[in-house]
């Protein structure tokens, strides 16, 4: 036997005996039974996107409490990447033990609720009613652990408001916008008259704000499509195209132009869910005039928020459920809020001083914890969103954009939308 062949077989023997030792070590747990031994060392993977506020310190805390657990955290850049990954692998293999799902595509995920593990009974009642109800499937199984929600206030530029002769302090602005959407748009007209500039950042965020206050928008729970016949939607579209479009700087958000505009005072207000505060601060770090008022047209509105789900065919379902339970407990969610501004969806968290006393220095030391809590309490409607919601809403946003761009007039654009919906 020459030396290379000898070496090779030596390696093989070593590898074999090593795995035999490992297997022997695991034998106590017994082949297929999941974690009969609670102290068995396991690795849990958790996949999130953007910033959930799950810092290394937070995860380390759990690992210290449970020495047998090692947590691996994978963060996708944005929720679209996570969505593609989720649906490609759900029902097959390869998902993380815990997968984050954004509210926009949560309804799509709920179609496959039978592929997700059920949350333990002990966690029920932890969340806001509507947050928990959306994660409960028709069979009564709770399959999502709510993380954050997006209660909205109004962010405004106090310096621009002052220049336009409008009230600029937080309370004065809250009084100014107290009322319905017409009132909000009246102020926009006033602002435009004084400055010649649009007050609102984008027409489609107004549409989003209105639509999120309608319970049945495009479909009804029995599957009936009401999109184009729904008078509420028609009214929202008319209001937005007639009055918000001339008062908006952009058709929609998230374009390069829109990001650039946050710093240069092209507009003075934005509808602001908690997570938007970080976006504004990131887009205009030099600007000092931004502030947030404790008010929202027509009451309260929720925009965004996420869930954690545990795929049922994972290797460590029980341990993953325990970790998801821990991560979405009020104490941990408050820590995530402190780290990333994700506003908790857990009732108990709203009494935590770390949340209620939170102030945001960038927004002129606004008591954001207090303001967003009030805004969350003002949310009364949880819009019904099924798996096709995104498709309809996207098409309606395009209709508004066409009017904004002057490509089509109000009626033509509506007709185009109707034709598009019929083609779905």
């Amino acid at each position: 036997m020459n030396s290379r062949a000898f070496r090779r077989s030596a390696v093989a023997v070593a590898a074999f005996s090593a795995s035999a030792i490992v297997l022997a070590g695991c034998a106590g747990g017994g082949g297929d039974q999941p974690s009969a031994d609670p102290d068995e060392p396991i690795t849990l993977t958790i996949a999130t996107f953007n910033d959930f506020g799950y810092t290394d310190e937070l995860l380390q805390e759990y690992m210290d409490e449970n020495p047998n657990v090692t947590i691996v955290h994978n963060r996708a850049a944005e929720s679209g990447d996570a969505r593609a990954n989720y649906f490609q692998k759900l029902g097959k293999e390869g998902l993380a033990d815990i997968e984050a799902v954004e509210i926009d595509w949560f309804a799509e995920a709920m179609q496959y609720s039978d592929l997700l593990a059920e949350a333990p009974d002990s966690v029920k009642g932890r969340w806001l009613d509507w947050k928990e109800a959306a994660a409960t499937d028709p069979d009564g199984r709770l399959v999502g652990f709510g993380t954050d929600i997006g209660p909205q206030g109004i962010c405004y530029r106090s310096d621009l408001f002052e220049a336009a002769g409008l009230p600029s302090d937080r309370e004065g602005v809250a009084d100014l916008f107290d009322g319905n959407w017409e009132n909000y748009l009246d102020v926009a007209d006033q602002y435009k008259e004084a400055t010649g500039k649009p007050m609102i950042d984008s027409a489609n965020s107004v549409l989003q704000g209105i639509v999120n206050q309608i319970e049945y928008t495009y479909t009804e729970p029995d599957g009936t499509v009401i999109a184009t016949e729904n008078p509420d939607i028609q009214a929202a579209y008319d209001l937005v195209t007639e009055r918000a479009v001339p008062n908006s700087a952009y058709a929609g958000q998230w374009s390069d132009d829109w990001f650039a505009s946050m710093a240069n005072g092209e507009f003075a207000t934005m509808l602001c869910p908690g997570w938007m505060l970080g976006v504004i601060e990131g887009g205009a770090p030099e600007v000092t005039g931004w502030d947030i008022a404790d008010v929202f047209p027509n009451g309260g509105g929720n925009w965004g928020g996420s869930y954690l789900t545990v795929p049922a065919n994972g290797a460590n379902v029980d341990a993953a459920l325990a970790l998801a339970d821990w991560l979405t407990a009020p104490e941990q969610q408050v820590k995530a809020f402190t780290a990333a501004g994700t506003f908790p969806s857990q009732l108990e968290a709203y009494e935590d001083p770390a949340l209620t006393d939170a102030v945001n220095p960038y927004f002129n030391d606004a008591p954001t914890g207090q303001i967003l809590s009030t805004r969350a309490e003002a949310v009364t409607v949880a819009p019904y969103k099924d798996a096709s919601y995104f498709k309809y809403h996207d098409a309606l946003q395009n209709a508004v954009t066409r009017v904004f761009d002057g490509v089509e007039d109000q009626q033509t654009s509506w007709d185009t939308w109707v034709a598009e919906v019929e083609a779905f």
């Binding site: 374009s255 390069d256 132009d257 505009s261 946003q397 066409r402 598009e420 083609a423």
Partner: protein, 340 residues
């Protein structure tokens, strides 16, 4: 008459085996070398075809199966619906808009690109200093990732704060509605394509130009033809086969254009009124935004057929031109020179 001709032989005429004789049994090694001769070439090229069958042919066939089904990606199952998906695509006005956009962007990118590429190649073909530097230089944009190119150009073509519109307004012109008007959005996207591919095509054309015998040019110079005349009468006709290759590759690439329109705005849906929706972008939106893989597969097949038809047209045109080459192509300088 020689004695050899009449000499009786036992085994018939020399050199010609008798027809009754049984065929000689080949030894194993002989057989092996015979197989080697016959089979080896196929074995040597087989890895490509095996890999192609797995990663190319199988997906194509599978796509065809899915295109007749109402497919659920997650549960990996479908329900047979016949040609319903195809009908849905062909009846959808967005498909026809996408088809129009694709061809418009294709024309706007291919024509200026080829004209520019020939010009650049002709310049590089001259005696210039630091030849390699310039030749590598024109290839640089090709090395850049298309997404990076698209990001930079999208920024330049911003409606309100883009570089191009800023310059236009600074010199007192009207800003261009890059994201509103279909034509201008096609121009912007075609610019990105041209930026990336002009240098690549220029190098291919340059290689072809260098293969043109220098005698032609010498003879033309003797005849008193100027640089422009030499270019139009010698260079361009000689480039014909290469040009056809370049046209075919850019046709296939142009019909599948995706990265640039996808990155042209932040949603990647091709515009609110489908101003810059291309066929592949439409396919992507159906497949990866709506998870409707049945329809996406049907559209993929329709795109395949479109490319096939255009490929066939290309082939026919190519055949004609190549056959013509002797007659209408390059006129031999000898013939031309001595005719006077």
């Amino acid at each position: 008459m020689t004695s050899t001709a009449t000499r009786p032989t036992a085994s018939g005429p020399a050199g010609r085996p008798s027809p009754e004789r049984a065929p000689r049994v080949l030894s194993f090694s002989h057989k092996l070398s015979k197989w080697d001769l016959k089979l080896s070439p196929y074995l040597y090229i087989s890895p490509f075809f095996i890999v192609f069958a797995i990663v190319g042919l199988f997906p194509i066939a599978y796509t065809a199966v899915i295109s007749f089904q109402d497919w659920d990606l997650v549960r990996n199952s479908g329900e047979f619906v016949g040609f319903q998906q195809y009908i849905w695509i062909l009846e959808n006005p967005q498909f026809w808009t996408a088809l129009r956009n694709t061809f418009s962007i294709f024309l706007l990118s291919t024509i200026p690109q080829l004209v520019l590429a020939i010009f650049i190649a002709a310049m590089l073909d001259r005696n210039i200093r630091a030849k390699t530097f310039w030749r590598m230089g024109v290839l640089l944009p090709y090395v850049m990732a298309p997404v990076a190119v698209a990001l930079i150009f999208s920024n330049m073509f911003g409606d309100n704060h883009g570089l191009v519109n800023n310059i236009l307004t600074d010199i007192g012109l009207q800003p261009i509605p890059w994201h509103k008007d279909p034509f201008w959005s096609h121009v912007a996207i075609a610019t990105m394509v041209n930026f990336r591919w002009t240098g690549y095509n220029a190098l291919i054309l340059l290689a072809a130009m260098q293969a043109i015998p220098r005698d032609y040019y010498e003879a033309a110079t003797v005849d008193g033809a100027g640089a422009f005349r030499q270019f139009t009468s010698i260079t361009v006709p000689s480039l014909r086969p290469t040009l056809i290759f370049v046209i075919i590759t850019s046709t296939i690439g142009g019909l599948q254009i995706f990265d640039e329109p996808r990155m042209y705005d932040n949603t990647g849906e091709g515009g609110a009124a489908q101003q810059w929706l291309t066929i592949t972008l439409f396919l992507y939106n159906i497949g990866w935004r709506e998870w409707n893989f049945g329809r996406a597969a049907a559209l993929a097949w329709i795109l395949f057929l479109i490319i096939l038809v255009i490929g066939l047209i290309n082939l026919l045109v190519t055949r004609r031109l190549v056959r013509d080459e002797g007659g209408r192509g390059v006129v031999s300088p000898r013939k031309k020179g001595f005719r006077r």
